[in-house]
């Protein structure tokens, strides 16, 4: 099967990704490393003590993971899993029960030795329309994936 030829234009939208955050999902994420003790993510009392919040919060690393998923789906795992980056700033807490939507827009393309780095601006919003995170992502798309006029 031949490679998919794609154009990457500034301003192109990335297909959004929507995730419903639950305490069960948070517990699985936290527990997947073998860490089973109470934390600000899994235990309301710990969250109150450490953060001073009513209720637990999701780790920012879950948002990071979702942003990575959005870009992996866009660029394809064969590209993103080997050249992908995401850099996110966390602006508001994400709590169990929140629905978070990840959106992205291509913000530039620069030449690299083995392809072109396609950069994406990322924004994360919750169900209230509040921005919970912003950042950038990128992947190096091999020249074989680009139309000849873009090489």
């Amino acid at each position: 099967m031949g490679r998919v030829i794609r154009n990457y234009e500034d301003g192109d939208d990335i297909t959004p990704l929507v995730k419903k955050m639950t305490q069960e999902a948070i517990n699985l994420f936290e527990g997947s490393s073998g860490h089973t003790g109470p934390s600000q993510f899994t235990d309301e009392a710990a969250a109150k003590e450490v953060l001073g919040t009513e209720g637990t919060l999701a780790s920012g690393r879950m948002s990071l993971t979702f942003a990575i998923e959005m870009l992996r789906r866009h660029f394809g795992p064969e590209v993103f899993n080997h050249t992908g980056t995401v850099d996110l700033r966390f602006l508001r807490p994400v709590r169990p029960g929140d629905t978070v939507t990840f959106t992205g827009k291509v913000s530039g393309t620069t030449k690299e030795a083995n392809g072109s780095r396609v950069s994406v601006d990322i924004e994360v919003t919750n169900q209230k329309g509040n921005t919970t995170g912003v950042g950038q992502g990128s992947a190096i798309v091999p020249n074989a994936f680009l139309p000849p006029e873009d090489l």
Binding site: K19, A25, I26, N27, L28, F29, E30, G31, S32, S33, G34, Q40, K48, V50, L51, G52, T53, E54, L57, S59, G60, R61, M62, L64, T65, F66, I68, E69, R72, P77, F80, N81, H82, T83, G84, T85, V86, D87, L88, R89, F90, R92, P93, G135
Partner: protein, 139 residues
């Protein structure tokens, strides 16, 4: 516990940028990967290492502090890790800074597997006054 007794109370001013921690090793199991994928609701999620928080693990083993909040995190994908392989992590203090009177510590870590294959790099900016979250977003 001896491990806790060996910890040092964080002195932010004295903390040296560039301090590199002892290498940390762990075995990545299929169960870890499956649990991670359920948690993030993505059957193809390829970097379960994110949930292991390896960049701050060594810091937390060495220092005690009031806790932290993740303010910013960057992740570089190189090669998805494989179940059944041991991962070796090198972590260090990459930076520290003051912003609006708040202390931040930046940790960085690179993971390779037992065959020497580069897996990922993670860089995290942690706010060391976690109660600021409750003050601003408490309810």
């Amino acid at each position: 516990m001896a491990e806790a007794e060996n910890k040092i109370e964080l002195d932010w001013d004295a903390l040296e940028v560039g301090e590199t921690f002892e290498k940390f090793e762990y075995l990545l199991t299929q169960e870890m990967i499956d649990t991670y994928r359920k948690g993030v609701m993505d059957s193809e999620a390829s970097f379960p290492t994110i949930a292991h928080k390896v960049d701050v693990r060594q810091y937390n083993d060495r220092y005690t502090d009031a806790g932290s909040v993740n303010a910013r995190c960057a992740f570089h994908c190189y090669n998805p890790p494989t179940a059944g392989k041991k991962l070796i992590v090198t972590a260090w203090i990459a930076d520290k800074y003051l912003r609006r009177g708040k202390n931040y510590i930046v940790t960085e870590a690179v993971s390779v597997d037992e065959d020497g294959k580069l897996i990922d790099r993670v860089i995290t900016h942690e706010l060391k006054q976690p109660s600021e979250v409750g003050k601003k977003w408490g309810g």
